[in-house]
Amino acid sequence: MESLSHRSKVVSNKKMTFLERIYLPAVLSGIAITIKHLFRRKATVSYPEVKREFSKIWRGHHVLKRDDKGAERCTACGLCAVACPAEAITMTAAERKKGEENLYREEKYASTYEINMLRCIFCGLCEEACPKEAIFLTDRLVYTDFARDGFIYGKDKLVEKVDERIDVTVRQTPAVLEFKKHKQLSHNK
């Protein structure tokens, strides 16, 4: 097999030469290497003060979007759950009642919608599968917890608040927008 890094060395048990036996040349080359590191740029990020920059297309904590009027976009079609390779998404569909038009955009909606964040691999396939532009992955982090229950995020954590919308445009790079153009769906036009 070909070496991947081309840095492996064949080890042999040959006798050391005189220069190797007196250690000093090796010691000197060693301390020359370490002194160079003294002046290198440091890899440390001083965390609370400095935060590591996220990638532009970082896929984190999901959000269920509302439309302009504040109604939930999700219609519980289940395409995201089908697309999910980790089978992290579950939902129950329900019918919209009279007087709930301002809450749900279409006649069918998800009465429960859960993502198990321990199963989720943040691949973004749910976002790609969604025909209603309802689910997005954002640049927010999924926080740690002590119990497994805490990682099953329901609608309370996923649906954005009406008064504090979550910006999902960061991830909508030109390539993504170009891709969406080809999704021949009425609401995308």
Binding site: I31, T34, L38, R41, A43, S46
Partner: protein
């Protein structure tokens, strides 16, 4: 007489304080150097740049629970770190920290005492340091501590031999055992008068042995974590552990001071007589230079520690007995021959 007493007491207290402060900040320096050599930042939370880190560490040592194992020999268990600390501090007395300061026509030497067997005293005191480790390791009643202690003493005794012989070559050259005298012989205009030029091999042997004597990497086998848990101080906690660690750093400081004194001209620096400054100014500048040399060697100790991997025990003994000892004897004979040839 009272003048003399006050001046000596001031000097002793000064040297004591400086030794402790340098040792304290050597721990900080060690962590910083280690971090920088590994592309990290190191402690930077306590005060600006982490300057107060040693104080925090010291406070932590004091606040920790003090555990004395019930199966240990309590008297010896406490005696161990005390001996390590006391002997480490005792050697500082003989180092010439500077030339004389002339105040009101009286010359005050910055060396606490210049006895005519100076080097012998330093070696004697440093050798007692082994007892601190040996007693502590044995009194812990723990096999890892005992193994660490045995290793430490075996290592120190082996390397002391080569170190002593490399020093004998130097003493033959200078013709005196007094440290003050040795430094004064190196005084002068330029670099050529430093002993390292005449004794490069001796210097090399000395510095390698100094690493081994201080139990520093690559010869830190007594504290070899992978094999011996914590080495001779496995059972120690609180400030008694702090004393052992402190003693190690003080030893490093003293070794660096002895190295600079014997081989690098002590408080002498190049062109010191051509500057046209007053005697006192030169003395103070010389002390600054001495400390610069000492700090360089302390840095060198750390630099090597964070570069080289640890020796195996048989490699260590091999190097000590079969390489350094013959080499130092050869150096001794060579020096003797050259001295005879010059004398003729």
């Amino acid at each position: 007489m009272t003048d003399f007493l006050i001046y000596k007491i001031l000097l002793v207290v000064g040297v004591f304080t400086i030794t402790l402060v340098v040792a304290m900040y050597a721990t900080y320096g060690e962590r910083k150097v280690a971090a920088f050599l590994q592309d990290r930042i190191g402690p930077n939370r306590a005060g600006p740049f982490g300057i107060l880190q040693p104080l925090a560490d010291g406070l932590k040592f004091f606040m920790k629970e003090e555990i004395i194992p019930s199966v240990s020999n309590k008297f010896l268990f406490i005696l161990g770190p005390s001996i390590a600390m006391i002997t480490a501090l005792m050697a500082g007395v003989l180092i010439p920290w500077g030339n004389t300061l002339i105040i009101n026509g009286t010359a005050y030497s910055l060396q606490i005492t210049d006895i005519n067997i100076g080097i012998l005293y330093v070696f004697g005191v440093v050798s007692i340091g082994v007892y601190g480790i040996m007693i502590g390791g044995w009194a812990s009643n723990n096999k890892y501590s005992l193994l660490g202690a045995i290793r430490a003493s075996a290592q120190m005794i082996s390397y002391e031999l080569a170190m002593g012989i490399s020093i004998i070559a130097l003493i033959m050259m200078t013709g005196t055992l007094s440290l003050g005298e040795i430094v004064n012989q190196q005084a002068g205009g330029d670099w050529n008068f430093w002993n390292v030029v005449y004794q490069p091999l001796g210097f090399l042997i000395f510095i390698v042995c100094a690493f081994a004597e201080c139990n520093r990497a690559p010869f830190d086998l007594p504290e070899c974590e992978t094999e011996l848990v914590g080495g001779y101080h496995t059972e120690y906690s609180s400030m008694k552990l702090g004393f052992y660690m402190f003693a190690e750093y003080i030893n490093m400081f003293i070794s660096s001071a002895v190295l600079s004194t014997l081989y690098f001209g002590g408080y002498n620096f190049p062109f010191m007589n051509d500057l046209g400054l007053s005697h006192n100014a030169i003395t103070i500048l010389g002390t600054v230079f001495l400390f610069a040399k000492i700090f360089f060697f302390i840095f060198f100790f750390m630099w090597v520690r964070w570069t080289l991997p640890r020796f195996r025990y048989d490699q260590l003994m091999n190097l000590g007995w079969r390489v350094l000892l013959p080499l130092s004897i050869a150096n001794l004979l060579l020096t003797a021959l050259v001295l005879l040839w010059i004398d003729k």
